[in-house]
Symmetry: C2
């Protein structure tokens, strides 16, 4: 490719998820040919965010403050704690539900092969919160993958030691889905988990 700065920019764009060589080239040309101002704005927003955003001291989600908005909101129900894997799960739950409790963001899931153990997920921090006795219900909202289930199981046992009841979000046929398009694992889960009509 012609220009080495252009080349570097295209290469750098490939770090984004779902961006390959062609998309990286398209993005670079778009910014250079059509919207340099937006490109500079994006670059500075990225630098600012990466420099200043750290983790909430209470729930570990991403925030530029010591405590995130949800943790520092005294109007929320502090007896409920919802365990999720990532900050985007918090956003998804906040948008979809009327849950008004608190969250704890693992920033990952138990995965010993990748070197992710209880410490990496901040479970010591979580246990400290269990010890305060404030939490009455724990909602396990990790993903329904093998690692997610193992993580939920581990935290459930941890909560058991402190006599905290834990619930798991329901798995089953998605709303609007059709039975014959749903995979057999989900279907058997939905069947086993049937409830009184």
């Amino acid at each position: 490719m012609e220009s080495s700065l252009l080349n570097e920019m295209v290469e750098a764009f490939k770090c984004l998820p779902g961006v390959g060589a062609r998309t990286a080239q398209r993005m670079s040309f778009h910014l250079l040919e059509r919207d340099r101002e937006a490109g500079l704005r994006l670059a500075s927003a990225m630098q600012q965010a990466i420099d200043k955003i750290g983790h909430c001291q209470l729930c570990r989600t991403l925030t530029e403050h010591e405590f995130c908005k949800i943790c520092s909101n005294t109007g929320r129900d502090s007896s409920k704690l919802c365990i999720v894997e990532s900050p985007s799960d918090v956003i998804a739950l906040e948008q979809a539900t009327d849950y008004r409790g608190h969250y704890f963001v693992l920033m990952g899931k138990l995965s010993p092969l990748d070197g992710v153990g209880p410490e990496q997920l901040g479970l010591d921090l979580l246990e400290n919160r269990f010890e305060t006795g404030e939490i009455k219900e724990l909602i396990l909202a990790t993903n329904p993958t093998i690692e997610g289930e193992v993580t939920a199981h581990y935290i459930h046992q941890l909560a058991g030691k402190h006599d905290i009841s834990a619930t798991r979000i329901a798995h089953g046929v998605p709303i609007g889905g059709e039975l014959d398009y749903v995979d057999s694992g989900t279907l058997s889960h939905a069947f086993d988990g049937r409830r009184a009509y």
Copy 2:
């Protein structure tokens, strides 16, 4: 959304082509959670490129130097000039063909409704080059859209005034394509443009 810096970053990502709200969020979280270093590298590569990359004084393509690599390469055939709409077309032609002449990059196409006339495409610059008498063949490789055809036609007439012969790249059925999947415009073009076997 929780953090305002995060919010700004997500908003800024939407300036990229093909990136909507969800992808912007995914990209932001990916950089913040998994690869902050690559994010900083991308931000600085963008700033560098946007700051320093301008246009080649001869062919108008993107370059951080006064003349681009192709224009300053004395080994290339300066009697041939290929007209394309954008720098990515140059890359595509360089990769696909063994063309060793020069390029002229319009950085757009004639589109009076959007205020793009001959001046915006640097056609005065092109005419200066015609006047030197160095160019013997003009290859019109604008896109086969209405604007691209109009642009090619306009430049063809311009070249005619200087007795320069112009050719147009062939349009027809793409290699590997199947006749019944090709649109009727392309097919009629391919039929009209048939050549001795």
